[in-house]
């Protein structure tokens, strides 16, 4: 509830408050030098000036941050002012809409991810070149790691002369090629996915042609 002030209640310092406000506003109707000279020895005026700073800053904040009816700036002419004057409910609505959109996008991504069925190893074409390459790459990788584990530890020698295999390892390299069942399923799935993509890309190319 706002209480209105009676004129009689106003203190005698109101003219000092006005001078202080004129000083803050840099109003030409006030002699600034004379006012500052008074300030040096009049601590009451100094105190009034510091009180007026509060009112002045509040009014300036009101002017800066809120829309005021006397501002007739078209919204399209001053984007900064328009953004500053935006009603809080608009900002809230925008935030909510953005959040809902983001959640929707996430849900869609999860849905799309789940839609891709895991591909069984058996369903892959036996003569797939890509899969064969993967099997070879995997076998090389396995051999590398096994040779590292089984080596004598002379890494400098290995680096210079190449790895030395035991008889078993050598047999593995030369006579016992890896089969598809030795390849982990995650690698097969990754290959299958990339295969699908490349097929899609080829299809697109055909369509474009």
């Amino acid at each position: 509830m706002i209480k209105m002030v009676n004129y009689e209640n106003m203190n005698d310092n109101s003219h000092l408050h006005l001078d202080a406000m004129l000083y803050l506003l840099e109003d030409p109707s006030l002699d600034r030098d004379a006012f500052e000279a008074r300030l040096e020895n009049d601590s009451q005026l100094a105190e009034i000036l510091s009180e007026s700073v509060t009112t002045f800053q509040s009014l300036e904040s009101l002017k800066s941050f809120t829309h005021h009816p006397v501002q007739h700036i078209p919204a399209t002419c001053n984007h900064r002012t328009n953004r500053h004057n935006r009603h809080p409910s608009w900002s809230l609505a925008t935030s909510i809409a953005a959040s809902i959109g983001f959640i929707g996008l996430l849900s869609w991504m999860v849905f799309e991810t789940n839609r891709i069925q895991p591909i069984e190893l058996a369903s892959l074409p036996q003569n797939s070149v890509a899969l064969r390459n993967v099997v070879c790459a995997w076998s090389d990788l396995q051999l590398d790691s096994e040779s590292t584990l089984g080596s004598s530890g002379d890494s400098l020698n290995d680096s210079l002369n190449g790895p030395t295999y035991s008889e078993e390892e050598l047999a593995l390299v030369t006579h016992e090629p890896f089969s598809q069942k030795d390849v982990p399923e995650w690698l097969v799935m990754a290959t299958a996915a990339s295969l699908e993509n490349s097929i899609d890309a080829n299809d697109s190319k055909v369509l474009l042609q």
Partner: protein, 178 residues
Amino acid sequence: MPAVPDRPLDPSTVEECHLAFSKMLEKYAWALVRDRALAADVVQTSFLALSRFGGDVAPEARKSWLFRVVYREALRVRNRSKPYSQSHTELADTVLEATADYEISPLSRMVEQEKLESLRKFINDLPQDQKQVLEMRFFENKTFAEIADLMQTPLGTALSRMRLALERLRTATKEKED
């Protein structure tokens, strides 16, 4: 010129004075230098002076002593930096800087919004002639001479309306704070 001998004031009294007057003094310093950081420096220097030389200042005179020191220090700082010739537009920017809270929490933002809403209500409740003067001076940046001309009143009347408007706003704001 011989150095002034120290007349130290005990730290607890300096702390008491700081609690009681520092905010008021910062606003005062800001009015003189129009820069928040400079104003804070001025006040800090003044309290340093109080701790070194305030020992023989009578307790009832400490406040006015501090105001005087702040005044001199502010003018010294102001003259040392750039000449004080800010336009009104620049002034508005420094006001924003002065009122800016560098770590604005949502709560303090709400409090600030609430204060501004109250101020808007107080302005709306002003008598029409006072409200008109206040709006033209603050929001339309008109001089009092222009306002008097527009309202077809003497300059003194326009100033008087502004004075009354400010008095009402100040009282209403104080009552709300109490």
